[in-house]
Structures are given as C-alpha cells and as structure tokens.
Amino acid sequence: MTAFFQLLFQGIALGCIYALVALGFTVVYRASKVINFAQGSLLLVGAYLVSVLATGLNLPFVLAVIAAIALLAAGCAIFQMMVLQRVLGQPVFVLVMITIGLSIVIDAAIPAIFGGNARILGDPWGASAVHVGGVTFNWVRIWTVLCTALILALYFVFDRFSRYGLAMRATAADEEAALAVGVPVRRVYALTWAIAGGVAVVGGLFLAGFPGSVNPSLGNVSLRAFPAIILGGLDSPPGAVVGGITIGIVEVMASGYAPGWLGSDFSAVAPYVVMILVLLCRPYGLFGTRPVERV
C-alpha cells in the first residue's frame, strides 16, 4: 500500500507537469487552431532561463522564476507579433510549420550556447524530502503540485471573469465574429502566446528539478505530454488538466506495476494505450467541444 501511495504522489506530480505543457498547447490552439509544436522547446528555454538567472546572475530563486516567466511570456508575445502575424490569413498549416521551425531552432541553439552538459537549476529544494508513513514526499514535487494548482486557478479565474479571458473565449468560438464586434483578435493571439510562454517556464523548472537536471533533452517532454492533450481534448483547458494528471498517474503506475513480460519501457507506451482507448469512446477527447446545437 505504501508503494501505491508513493507512485500515486509521483504520478500526480508528473501529471502536473504534463498539465502545464498541455495547458500551453490548448490555450494557443483554442484561440487560433494552431498546434504549437514548439511548446516543449519553450519548456527547455524556461528551464535554462531560470538556471541562468538563479545560478549565473545569482538572483534569489523566486525572483529568478518570476523574471524568467516575464521574459519568456514577453518573448513569446513578441514572436507571435513579429513572425506569426505576418502570415495571418495564410492557412493554419503555415503557422504550424513555423512553430516546428521555431522548435528546431531552439533545440539547436540551446546546446550551441550552453553546451551539451547538464546545468544545475539553482532551486532551494534539491533532493530534500519529508517522510509520512513510509511515503517520501520530495519538496520539489510538493511545490510542483502547489504551483501547478495555483497557476491553473489563476488561469481559470482569468479565463472566466476577465475582459481578455472573455475575448479569448469569443475568439475561440468564432474568430470573424469576434473581429466584427471589435475584439482586438491579434492582441488576443499575442496574449495566448504569452500565457504559453509563462506556463512553459513553470513546467520547465519543475521538470528540471530533482532527480532531473537542466539539459538539452528536456524539450522531449512534449511528446510524452501529447497523449494528455489528445485525451483531454485539444481545445479544452480543463481537459488539459484532467488529461495531464491522468497520463502522469498512468505512466508512473505502469512503471511500478506493469508485469515484466510487457517489456521494461512499457510505462512510456501506457499513456498512448489509454489515449487510444479513450478516443475509441470519445473521439473529441474527454472535454473537447462538440458544437452546441439546438435540437
């Protein structure tokens, strides 16, 4: 039973990171129908930013994180305005290709600048942990869960109650109609990219926390988070959360309980198995939108 709770906790913590990756994806996709293939690379940038600010410039860790969030959010918004808005009116496919290009550039630039070796994150937690009834709670994972909960809460309050949150939902529902009633749609797109950049920093830093490190392969997490996004529904932020945490738990549980004959890396496959099973029953994902229609 102890082992179960240990795995459950680790699964939830991993799931929180997936949820943050998936949230970054869905916020951009919902508004503009652009699948942002660079989201994983943004996590990579986020982790390096935090590391550089915290260990290179010796900023206090909290300050380093806040500064990294601000920097990457601004960087993403500027990228959206300078690059993506130039091709506005082109098929969405063009924008998707540009995000793939961005991810290639980032994945090549990071090792070129910082070298291929792992860096330390500069976080105050390291491997420290509390033990409750035989279950080990690493501080970095506790903070992963708490910070993810805080960010998700902030996001949902913003989405539901703020003026720009409403503008994001209107743009998602019908871009032309939003333009027609005076919503500055371009500013909304820039905002969704800023949000994607901001959550990428938080996802990236916790991904690089113990037992991981800041290294050039962090961006690969986006492939592992992919089932979470599909599972939840591409255009549903609540789906991103449920999908992310589900996939995190499935992956960790599979690594702990899957019988040997399934192979040693079955935990990497398990999320895809779950994704396929869910899609068989719910083709739009758990929370993906089907159009509201009057019967």
Binding site: D174, E176, V181, G182
Partner: protein, 257 residues
C-alpha cells in the same frame, strides 16, 4: 449636403486574390442618422461592400484596389476592424454568428469590448433589454440554444453594445419567419430613431421596405439604380431583375440608368 454624410463610398474597387474583381466602381452614401438598403441578388457584391467598410476584407483575402471610403469625413480604407468598431461602426454578420458556447450575457459583454462602451456597459444593457426583453430573460443560457430569431436579436444587440453611429447588417432576415422579420424591422426602426444610422444589406425586400428610406440596387459589382426604397421596389424592372424573374434575366443593361 456632403457635410451630413456619415459614410461615403466612392468608386470603390475590390478584388479577391490577385484577379477576381468583386466590386467595380461602387458608390453609395449613408447620411447622418439615415437608413439605407443595399439590395441585390446572390453574388452581386453586397457582402464585399460591407467587408470593405468594416475592415474584414483582409480576413477574406480581399483588398481595396481603388476608390475611397470615408467615415465622418476621414478615410477608413486602411483601418483595422477593431479600430473601426471603436470609431463607431458596428456590424451584424450574415448568419447571426453568435458565440454559441457563451451565454447571452457574455455575448453582450464581448460586444462592449471596445473602450468607449465599457464604462456605460450596464446602462446600455438595460436599454437594450427594454428593446429586446428576451435578452434579460435568457441572460444565463448559452446563445447556441436560442431560436434563430432570438439569435438574430442577440447579434443585433451585441453589435449595439459598442454604441455605434452606424450599424451595418448583412441579411438579417435570412431564414426567419415573416412575423419575426416584421419584429426585427420594428426594432431596427426604433434603433434608427435613436440616432443610429443603418446600412442594411438584403436579398429579400420585406425588411428593406420596413426599415430603410433609401435603397441602392447592386448588380455584379456595380450600382444599377438608387431611389427611395419604396419607389425602387415598386419599379417593375427592378423587381424582376432583383427577384430573378425571367423577363429581365440575361439583359441587365436594360436597367442601367
């Protein structure tokens, strides 16, 4: 006379892509507080004219290649859509286009996004609820669950939330029962009486007759005729051409004035 013009379109040429000419020298104007109909059959260029005025052409891959559009005397050919709404031009797109997943109240709040409407949002909403009681009754329901007529009312109210000087409507009577069209006509007259100018784009004559004083007939990218609405629609040749009756079909030059 020119001083009273709210919207003035002259010699407007619009192309889609690199070669498709949609409007070929179209001119029309809306006086301050006036009510104008732009009539024509499918493909005549009515929606294109509306998009040119409201800045949505680029969204559809079109561009103004000649002529001028002035609103309150200033050229607006290059202005973007959001800025035009803020300047006082609101529009109701063809097919209603309410935000189906958002509630009725949220739809109206989106309409109040442009700056100058925000401070008076509650006030405007109360005014509109008097004009359209259904908005208050169903405020918390998703807009997608309203009937077609109710959605049209919501689309009009959403546009009015920005407190426009000019309201453009693209086929608001499309697919609605005659009784509902009559109600919408009445509402548009009320809106017009409160000082908001109307530019109504229509294929059917019923609403144009009810809600507008002056009408232009648009045919394959050109203005063929203009006159007081009742007079224009009483013209046998206009009716025939415009309703697609065989008498004139095939030789539209008979209508040129």
């Amino acid at each position: 006379m020119a001083d009273d013009l709210l919207l003035e379109v002259e010699e407007l040429r619009v192309t889609y892509g690199s070669s498709v000419l949609a409007l070929d020298g179209v001119g029309f104007s809306v006086p301050e507080g006036g009510s104008i109909a732009l009539l024509g059959a499918n493909g005549a260029g009515k929606s294109t004219a509306l998009r040119a005025v409201t800045g949505l052409l680029r969204f559809h891959g079109g561009q103004v290649t000649g002529g001028s559009i002035r609103f309150e005397g200033r050229s607006i050919v290059r202005a973007d859509a959001a800025a035009l709404v803020a300047a006082g031009i609101a529009q109701v797109l063809e097919g209603r286009r309410v935000f189906a997943e958002l509630t009725v109240a949220e739809n109206l709040r989106v309409g109040a996004f442009p700056g100058r409407a925000r401070r008076r949002e509650r006030e405007i909403r109360e005014e509109l609820s008097e004009l359209f009681p259904i908005l208050a009754e169903r405020a918390d329901q998703p807009a997608g669950l309203l009937s077609g007529g109710q959605q049209q009312v919501l689309a009009i109210a959403r546009a009015l939330m920005s407190q426009p000087r000019l309201l453009l409507l693209d086929e608001p009577s499309l697919g609605l029962a005659p009784r509902v069209v009559a109600e919408i006509g009445q509402a548009l007259r009320a809106i017009n009486e409160r000082g908001c100018a109307l530019l109504l784009i229509e294929q059917s004559t019923a609403l144009a007759l009810r809600a507008t004083k002056h009408a232009y007939l648009l045919e394959t990218g050109r203005i063929r005729a203009h006159a007081p609405t009742a007079e224009l629609l009483a013209d046998e040749r206009v009716r025939a051409s415009y309703l697609g009756a065989p008498a004139v079909l095939g030789r539209p030059e008979a209508l040129a004035r």
